[in-house]
């Protein structure tokens, strides 16, 4: 299902001979890139700019620019307690989920990568098969399980299943990472008197930090954006996460398009900021994960 080799460092200086193979960048390249960026950004820009318009502007000229610019929509949303409560809910869910997934995932990945025991293949296959169980398939009975635990309308009712569903990807990214730590380091650690667990805490944790950060971010963004599970579990407005909030807001204010756009653009900001801060990590981690 996934490759298990990984290079911890793949950057090497590029020699001049390869510029022919990689190709140069003529005006055509820049033009295509520009068109591409435009296409990618138009919907995002539409949402952000729309928030600065009034409803009458939007009705009379749906594809126009704001004139004059109005900040009142954004101010209204930011002054709205609902928005901040939903931000807080989403933050709690995403932080707890990522911390738990990274912790539990790192430990079991260490077992899968550095211990040899009977049933290891089966354990790995169990988690790998988990990639085939997206939350969609299990959602109906999952709702029953969460309800029987008394966690409907509680954030824990979203967090606990999310941990389970985020583990397979995390493990599949981390196992090759941990396996790539050279045997010699483990031997050196054990000569110095560290056991397997000492090796784990003193060597593996620091060495696997890049992989840990990558998976942590992926889990965080996944949780921040997740919709189906909260849709089933959280029915009470007070427990809504941002995606549910966006949807509730857009049906509640369906006639106030400008305000919906302002709410929507504010709610995509956190994920965007978070992502642009850690972009290198995410891309680097994916390189390791799906290296054919």
């Amino acid at each position: 299902m996934t490759a298990s080799t990984i290079q911890l460092q793949t950057h090497r200086p590029r020699s001049r001979a390869t510029s022919k193979a990689r190709g140069g960048a003529g005006p055509a390249t820049y033009f295509v890139a520009l068109v591409l960026v435009g296409l990618l950004l138009v919907p995002v820009v539409y949402i952000i700019l729309g928030g600065f318009r009034t409803n009458s502007q939007i009705t009379t000229d749906p594809a126009g620019l704001p004139s004059p610019w109005k900040v009142s929509n954004y101010v209204d949303v930011l002054a709205n307690g609902t928005f901040w409560r939903e931000v807080a809910n989403s933050t709690v869910v995403a932080l707890v989920t990522s911390a738990a997934v990274v912790g539990a995932g790192l430990m079991v990945s260490f077992v899968l990568a550095r211990y040899s025991f009977r049933g290891r293949g089966a354990l790995y296959a169990l988690f790998a098969a988990g990639l085939m169980f997206p939350v969609t398939v299990a959602i109906t009975p999952l709702y029953i399980v969460v309800r029987d635990l008394g966690l409907v309308n509680h954030l824990a009712g979203v967090i606990l299943p999310q941990i389970g569903f985020a583990l397979p990807t995390t493990i599949i990214i981390l196992v090759p990472f941990l396996r790539a730590i050279p045997e010699e380091i483990e031997e050196a650690a054990s000569i110095d008197g560290a056991g397997k667990l000492g090796f784990f805490f003193r060597m593996v944790l620091p060495l696997s930090l890049p992989g840990v950060i990558t998976t942590g971010i992926l889990v965080f963004v996944g949780s921040w954006n997740s919709y189906l599970l909260p849709l089933f579990i959280l029915n009470d407005e007070g427990s809504f996460t941002l995606p549910l909030g966006v949807q509730a807001f857009s049906s509640q204010y369906s006639t106030d398009t400008a305000k919906v756009l302002a709410f929507t653009s504010l709610s995509m900001l956190p994920a965007l900021i978070f992502f642009s801060l850690f972009e290198r990590r995410i891309v680097g981690g994916l390189q390791g994960a799906v290296k054919g």
Partner: protein, 340 residues
């Protein structure tokens, strides 16, 4: 998570750890050094249990167990309260498999699977090759191309449904540039809706494919390009004979992820088309069908049965794909390295 004070205890593990660990769980240990093995084996087992316990518990409890529950509930007519008692055997499955609405949903899913591969694959490869060229602002483009992937489906759905509405910005723009005749009911016209959906899906997920392919391109050793360049190969010859074949494994894994994602598609359709319009606009999927007739209608037994059908279809396609397409890539990854 595990802050048990194990460091000082673990001192005795020696460097022939691996063989010792193996012996701990096998009944017949190798002849040498018998006396020490037992204790180490037990401690190792304990470590394995403690380290893998939380993950296994969460995974089995919230992923595997509900899937089996779905299989069980699928045999009942059940509204979700009390214990399921109204056993109906395979009746739910009979209804699903003969329901034209489900057939339509399945058809849409299969269309989306194929169209995603055909549309996104070539475009993503082209973009990856393009962005692999040394150029100004490349890292900025790499960030921007990933932006749609990071934005949640709900936001994408909300934005697009406003933009593509009959009196929305898309038609407004066409009017402005004098192409008003091209304006359509992008969302509600059943002839167009599924293509609109494909456009939204491609917009949202192509960045992921491009990033994967770019990563793979950068992992191709420069020596290969140098050798080819010395032999006088042109840019396109190099791409065709070196880059594309070496991109193969990544391409096949991406296709796998794309297929699974297409079969499970829910969020975008549900947000843009709402729960009832999806069917009439011709964009319903198996998952929206499941939610509509399961949870929303309060038929938890029936919804579970739909989940089982959805799962069996996905699993079958995944296994066939792995058997015939992914085999050469994973030979070794799953069987050798993990199982050994």
């Amino acid at each position: 998570m595990s802050d048990s004070p194990v460091n000082p205890l673990a001192v005795k593990n020696s460097q022939d750890d691996r063989s010792v660990v193996g012996a701990g769980s096998t009944p017949a240990p190798a002849p040498a050094a018998l006396p020490r093995r037992r204790g180490v084996g037990w401690r190792t087992r304990f470590e394995i249990a403690v380290l893998s316990g939380p993950a296994v518990l969460m995974f089995v409890g919230f992923v595997i167990f509900p899937v089996f529950l779905a299989a069980y509930y699928g045999f009942f007519r059940w509204k979700g309260y009390g214990k399921p008692t109204d056993f109906v055997g395979l009746n739910n499955y009979k209804i699903i498999l003969t329901d034209p609405e489900f057939h339509a949903a399945l058809g849409h899913n299969l269309f989306i699977v194929v169209a995603s591969l055909v549309l996104q694959g070539p475009i993503a490869i082209g973009l990856a090759l393009l962005l692999n060229r040394p150029m100004r602002g490349r890292s900025l483009i790499r960030v921007l191309i990933f932006v749609p992937y990071v934005i949640s489906e709900v936001i994408v759905g909300t934005g697009f449904s406003l933009m593509l509405a009959t009196n929305g910005a898309a038609n407004g723009f066409l009017d402005k540039v004098g192409l008003g005749s091209l304006a359509h009911d992008w969302l509600s016209d059943p002839d167009i809706a599924i293509w609109t959906l494909m456009a939204i899906i491609s917009w949202k997920y192509i960045g992921f494919a491009v990033i994967l392919f770019m990563a793979a391109l950068q992992n191709i050793p420069d020596e290969l390009f140098e050798a080819a360049a010395i032999d006088g190969a042109s840019y396109w010859q190099i791409q065709r004979s070196i880059t594309l074949p070496l991109l193969g494994p990544t391409l096949r894994i991406w296709a796998f992820l794309s297929i699974i994602g297409s079969l499970q598609l829910f969020d975008l359709v549900y947000i843009v088309w709402g729960q009832y319009v999806a069917g009439t606009a011709g964009v319903s999927t198996m998952a929206t069908y499941m939610v509509q007739y399961g949870r929303t209608a309060g038929n938890f037994g029936y919804g579970s049965a739909v989940a089982v059908v959805l799962f069996v279809i996905s699993l079958t396609i995944a296994l066939v794909y792995q058997r015939f397409v992914l085999r050469r890539d994973t030979a070794g990854a799953l069987t050798d390295k993990a199982a050994r």
